[in-house]
Assembly symmetry: D2
Homo-oligomer: 399 residues x 4
Amino acid sequence: MRKQGRHFLQIPGPTNVPDRILRAMDLPTMDHRSPEFGELGLRVLNGMKTIFKCSGPVFIYPASGTGAWEAALVNTLNPGDHVLMYETGHFSTLWKSMALKIGLQPEFLQGDWRSGADANAIENRLRDDTAHDIKAVCVVHNETSTGAVTPIDQVREAIDAAGHPALLMVDTISSLASIDYRQDEWGVDVTVGGSQKGLMLPPGLSFNAVSDKALAAAKTCASMKAFWSWEDMAGPNATGFFPYTPATNLLYGLAEAIDMLHEEGLENVFARHDRHAEATRRAVQAWGLEILCSEPNHYSSSLTAVRLPEGHDADAFRKAVAENFNMSLGNGLSKLAGRVFRIGHLGDFNDLMLAGTLSGVEMGLELAAVPFERGGVQAALSYLASEARGNAGGQEAAE
Amino acid sequence: MRKQGRHFLQIPGPTNVPDRILRAMDLPTMDHRSPEFGELGLRVLNGMKTIFKCSGPVFIYPASGTGAWEAALVNTLNPGDHVLMYETGHFSTLWKSMALKIGLQPEFLQGDWRSGADANAIENRLRDDTAHDIKAVCVVHNETSTGAVTPIDQVREAIDAAGHPALLMVDTISSLASIDYRQDEWGVDVTVGGSQKGLMLPPGLSFNAVSDKALAAAKTCASMKAFWSWEDMAGPNATGFFPYTPATNLLYGLAEAIDMLHEEGLENVFARHDRHAEATRRAVQAWGLEILCSEPNHYSSSLTAVRLPEGHDADAFRKAVAENFNMSLGNGLSKLAGRVFRIGHLGDFNDLMLAGTLSGVEMGLELAAVPFERGGVQAALSYLASEARGNAGGQEAAE
Amino acid sequence: MRKQGRHFLQIPGPTNVPDRILRAMDLPTMDHRSPEFGELGLRVLNGMKTIFKCSGPVFIYPASGTGAWEAALVNTLNPGDHVLMYETGHFSTLWKSMALKIGLQPEFLQGDWRSGADANAIENRLRDDTAHDIKAVCVVHNETSTGAVTPIDQVREAIDAAGHPALLMVDTISSLASIDYRQDEWGVDVTVGGSQKGLMLPPGLSFNAVSDKALAAAKTCASMKAFWSWEDMAGPNATGFFPYTPATNLLYGLAEAIDMLHEEGLENVFARHDRHAEATRRAVQAWGLEILCSEPNHYSSSLTAVRLPEGHDADAFRKAVAENFNMSLGNGLSKLAGRVFRIGHLGDFNDLMLAGTLSGVEMGLELAAVPFERGGVQAALSYLASEARGNAGGQEAAE
Amino acid sequence: MRKQGRHFLQIPGPTNVPDRILRAMDLPTMDHRSPEFGELGLRVLNGMKTIFKCSGPVFIYPASGTGAWEAALVNTLNPGDHVLMYETGHFSTLWKSMALKIGLQPEFLQGDWRSGADANAIENRLRDDTAHDIKAVCVVHNETSTGAVTPIDQVREAIDAAGHPALLMVDTISSLASIDYRQDEWGVDVTVGGSQKGLMLPPGLSFNAVSDKALAAAKTCASMKAFWSWEDMAGPNATGFFPYTPATNLLYGLAEAIDMLHEEGLENVFARHDRHAEATRRAVQAWGLEILCSEPNHYSSSLTAVRLPEGHDADAFRKAVAENFNMSLGNGLSKLAGRVFRIGHLGDFNDLMLAGTLSGVEMGLELAAVPFERGGVQAALSYLASEARGNAGGQEAAE
């Protein structure tokens, strides 16, 4: 296996952690009860509000994203509560399974794993729920297994149109800090996020951004919880501390990540992800392959899932890429296993890293004898060059 | 505040992370579904068995130690189950509170926060429980708030003497890899550990080491759980993988930590901690101050809690130390607040770091106008020098 | 300027330092007079012999390559000595200027800056020197300003054919550990090397690999020297030490670099560089641009210099690349300024990094309105894919 | 050998490099011809003027301090020039030997290796030199082999009183950024410095800070030079660049070091070093050992050399310390070999690191069976505590 040079970690997260963040984390662990820690704590607790675009609290767990899913549910819902979830793919299915495990009654609106959630279907179901049995609507913003985005503003409108009081909970694990997201403006009650995607950190931190309505629900919530309890968090968080030992070194990295995102500007971060996603899709189309997401309005800007032609094994293709070109691509999950591969183009990423990534895919297709048309990389480069030209013009105009 | 030079992080954890571990963690995050990751996973999953001295599985959570407490309880016990816990101090009290929060019925054997658990009291209580209502006995091996150790072998003997079938669960968060511990030999069913103490890592990983008996209990356990589920872990762990994104970079550090511990030799690690604890106690005694732990057989080798004379505020003393000498000491927790300070002498530590630590305490006592006798550092040095001399002799003899 | 993602440092050195080496260097500086340092010293001093393929000593300077040029001259030659040098480009010209500055009489065989040295011309000149006035022949193995290689074995044969006793001195700063080199086999007397190219280190170390004949010359050499003195080095080097404070942390990195090169295998390292150079040339040819090196037998495997069409400014092109694509390319030096750009494809490098690099060039040509044909990246990918396919077959055959 | 915990690197340089500087250096090497590099270059070139307290240029070599010695001489003096040097110890002797090697005629005023240079002796010698044959006076500010400081202002006055036009050259390798130094105010013409002491960097950079008078001398200087040439440096330096590849990653660290020194305040840095030196001397005196420096006005604030009683081997003592306590102490050099050991207390250092250091010495004396009185550490702590108390008072008074 060829291991020289830098590995291309092009799964849809964890992403390529920038040196600046790795170095920020590579400092001695500090006393988590010292005044200096309190300053760090406030800096990241407040800073994350600017990323979620929310005014309510953000709770930070020393845990991976799966934990933050659990936290969202056990802090707001009671055993036996009905929740409406939407089958956008593998991860929404896992969240639904978790809801079952912890004693909720999830209802799963069926999807085709090729698009985001259908707001109309949600609205219709909520209109039918005249008794307001449904306590929460849970959707995945960017379904990491398929590369399809659910327009959260439409879901919000659907709930409002139905006049339904359910909480809105959104998983942004693979969209946060990559795809435009607005907790307050969109009326989201709990947003679940993780550190290892757009935030450019290693895995190990996860988040709940919480609305007043969700905080109110938490006050009467009878679900068993301890580690995940918002209530236990809120007190110490007020002064920048945590109820148990936080993942200090990851918090160093988080502070750096927030700074980096604002240095670039969140809108620029989103535009960059949009550009790389569009370039990727042009490459896929030039190759004559099919983008898994069948709804262009739902295309993801953080990853693209690609279907291989029938009879061709996506995992054999990925293995050829890994062994020859030192690049990891995302696999197809559960019912998509062997059928699709996923290209992560999120996090600390630039045009030439994308060009290298797409080159690895194009050469891998050839090595794995997958039928395809050459020219995908070329198509991406043409687009990126034209964007760069336009960008340069725009900058001049602005001066 | 004087900030030059290296900070002395002498709280009883997190500890001074060695450069070798920080550098091991400071590498690019890898694909957690790649074959290379599987190798790393098996290396740490198997490696941790050598640290717990167990043959059964060790589950590794991307979470802090509080989470591993919860995992131990929710995987083995049913809602409403009685558990016998022992009040050794602040952390045993927190564990008891957690048991309540998640729906168990803890019974708390009262302690004085100055010693480890009394095995006789446990035996007596179990003998009375002829109906075997008590499903688990939970003790803290090394109570981090007081510096008192519970002899786990005695607790095992007490349970056996009572002929009681309860599970034995032990918290080793501040003793693992610092104080002798033997999961299998002592018949422990679930051991709870964390990364940020004797393992010399930053916080962010925690452990459950699990016996066959505990695994059997898990099969019939009806407690709600998802993130903490052993069952979900066991499958992927068999090939070195995890059911959700692991804290990859901390696992890099864990592999390095396991190597470092075996390079030194676990018995040498324990002897080193014993030596530093004895030197610390000699200093405290020379100062004329009182060691919080009143039972010499229970002295902790990883930390020493020291009482200040009545009328003197331990936090004012700690502040003087922090501001003048760039050292963090542990504070008194809950009912010990302001009354004691704690010296952590665990992890990647040596004689001169201890000498610096004790020097900071001695000068801080003077600055804070605490009445004390000089000579504590001198007493520690005399002991350490004599130990070094003995050690040199021993090595020569062995050659 | 777009600064996101990883910078592509595609100048012909310094090269992209791999994380493994950066981390090796990121450890505390050690006592350069301790036994542990002696072990490190011997490890790198002996290790470098395996890289130069020599049995004589290698002297390591805490200095950049320019210093090692000076060391080669002042340790072997006397003031006023005649030396025969060959004008392969900017760096051979600088070396010649240095020879003048330190009191030698260099004779400069004229070259066209588009090829390596002509061994016949050297042979002819030496045959004419019947009085053996010429004390040394100095050539640059890989001229970094032009991307042209001088076949050192041919130069050796030329000297031998002329029956001339001159020393042979070779600059391998941009070829060492990238292009096949054999100090002993080719009868080189002094080889000059640096850390920041094929050795994958930051700048700050340089080398003299020295033959017995050169050591003998040093014994009678009257040139003034102190810092560069081999004689002062040789004594302490015997036990792994240095006559003055060495660049300790760079030596940590050097030990790691030597290990990495042998893990890959030097022959594989050379083959990888050959492959990337060939891919690059195919791209240049597809673009319809001219490779500066006009002699295919002299093509460099570590860099490719490319001429821009008349009337197009290479520096404007490089600026467009830097600002839009976060990549540094090498500039044209002295008489090539503005006329050529140079692509470094050496060091810790792989196919996808090269694909990204060439993509940046192709898009930059478009942005800078340089006339070119599209398809360079495509041509490179076709070649790299076919090489990967061949490689896979070869590996299977070998098993 | 006991290797756990942090090594105490208490030689008089290299010093304990702070994490902040190691991390600054642990970033990818950049293009040394890019605009970004020019910014870095200007930052360090200008920044070093604030450390030397000079208005003229500072030249930065990618080389160790020995190289900067050579640079000072070959840029200003002509072959055969007379220079007046002063034998303060091993390093002044090495500098004198270097002067001989490069063709100068050094005259060496004899010293006793127990004090700094005697300004009166210099004045007398210069007065005798009515022909002004002596072209430079060279002294070592802080003699690293003995721990004795030469008052440079007195040497300046001596030269002026003699009405002599010689250049004044000063080696500040082990005093710069540790002991008060003022290039312009004291009329120094060339100051030689290095990176690995008070600047807290690894070895690999060295400096010449240069007056107008020295620059003028350089214009007519006929010594052979290339690598060390100021003239070649000056041009590129004007825009932040260098004539050959600089040691980029060390320059990252240098920029950080300059920031750190100014954050603390240079006067505070000097006061800290003074305090640690005084504490060390109190310890030595309490042990009943002799400080090598016999002239209290010349005591060094960056290191203390200690004589062992006759018949006791300082190297055996140092070995006992290294093997038992993981600390490196400085050895006795040349005629002091085996007779003295040296304690470095410079760089990124604090009270508790010093307490650990002195504890290691005190225990080592016992292990090595050197006759001594206990109480040295105690004496140091008493002094440091009183200083801390005074400091707190001073701060309050200032508010």
